[in-house]
Symmetry: none
Subunit: 221 residues, 2 copies
DNA sequence: GCCGCCCGTTCAGGCCAGTGTCAGGTAAGA
DNA sequence: TCTTACCTGACACTGGCCTGAACGGGCGGC
């Protein structure tokens, strides 16, 4: 598993990192919400360990933004406070579990293992592409947190672009995704679908390469 | 896979080289940034293992230059330091993963295998020609890291030169790339396209051989 | 069945980037 | 010097591309 640890206390951070690492998981340790934000946008994690009191804000804000974007990565909150109200607020904000400091490292291991067990096998791969967040497993897309509904044909086309951001797909390659291999099509169906995808995913999501085809724009729009 | 190992410590370098080699990958081992630079310009790698502290500079500089050129080859950083700030800086500079020394060779294998898995299937061939970086599959070109857009006709011409850098192409050979074989053309279309290519790819990218034709300049401009 | 809705497809009109041509200027060679 | 080959800015035209709209089939609800 790949775990993101968001924790600004040096000693505790090291201890947690070492423990998780010893349990056989890859750990990325960041010490502020800003870095956490960058990390989740560039990497896909199976678990996030989130401290609440951080130098540049409250963990809840990060968590809410994460969920608002449609990111369902499990989150375990680490906090010194054992206020019942805080626990409720945390779970309401979208946390999956809770650890109250000081906690035993073996308890940490147990909770992480629980998440690992729950998500083993098929953690739906989430892909960030610019402003888009794509769940390859159940064909769900959100644009800046707003869920986007694609029809079957639209998804079939869009999926082709996901193989690698920026990949160039020719018209015939796109047609092969919609129809029998090699089917000749003379109408402008592809153009119409590209147009509809742009309307749903953002005008700049797909770039036209005149005379050659189309490519997904991998940068923020 | 073809792996470039940039590491100046003899013992570690040998160990890593042997391990990767044992895993069934081809390894090129260089011990300085200068050699690394030459290597990536002449060969296309699937993975680069990059030490940070090197005799002739810091690995980050190499990494940044690589990315600035538009080269997306996956890079795993090897370093003795386990500073979070370094890891963040590394990932920000464009690294894909991180290994902190001393690391277990089995962990190295695992990370390399992960990269192999992630990138299997669609390694578009990248070609370096002087300051140009060309992605043959996606028809993408960057000049000193700046992406360059070519039209269909421009690409068709340029592609001819790529088959062998430095090869001399006559006017009629170039015409055959744009039109039906043998089509007679009396205007100066070729000259115009050469001019347009030069404007986009650099004045010295294409050399005129008076009375004979043109050839691509394979050296830095 | 009949209706309503959604999706896939086609069509038509408008727009604009790409293309090819020319003309005047520049560089190379004798 | 002159001649020839090459360079390049400018411009009109064309065909590729975009998209609103309409058509028709499939499917579920009643």
């Amino acid at each position: 598993m790949r775990v993101l640890l968001v924790e600004d206390t040096t000693g505790l951070g090291e201890a947690v990192r070492d423990q998780i690492s010893e349990d056989g998981h890859a750990v990325d340790w960041v010490q502020s919400l800003a870095f956490a934000d960058t990390s989740v946008k560039t990497t896909t994690y199976n678990l996030i360990l989130l401290d609440l009191m951080l130098p540049d804000g409250h963990g809840f804000d990060f968590l809410k933004k994460l969920r608002a974007r449609g990111d369902a990565t499990p989150v375990i909150i680490l906090t010194a406070r054992d206020q019942v109200s805080d626990r409720i607020a945390g779970l309401n904000a979208g946390a999956d579990d809770y650890l109250v400091k000081p906690f035993d490292l073996s308890e940490l291991s147990a909770r992480v293992a629980a998440v690992a067990r729950r998500y083993r096998g098929n953690p739906n791969p989430l892909v960030h592409i610019g402003d888009l967040l794509v769940d390859l497993g159940d064909h769900r897309i959100s644009l800046n947190g707003q869920p986007v509904e694609l029809t079957a044909r639209e998804w079939a086309l869009f999926e082709g672009f996901l193989q690698r951001p920026g990949i160039l797909l020719s018209r015939s390659q796109l047609e092969d995704r919609l129809y029998e291999f090699g089917a000749e099509i003379e109408s402008n169906t592809i153009e119409v679908y590209i147009s509809r995808l742009r309307k749903k995913l953002g005008r700049d999501a797909i770039v036209t390469v005149r005379g050659m085809g189309y490519r997904l724009n991998s940068y923020d729009h």
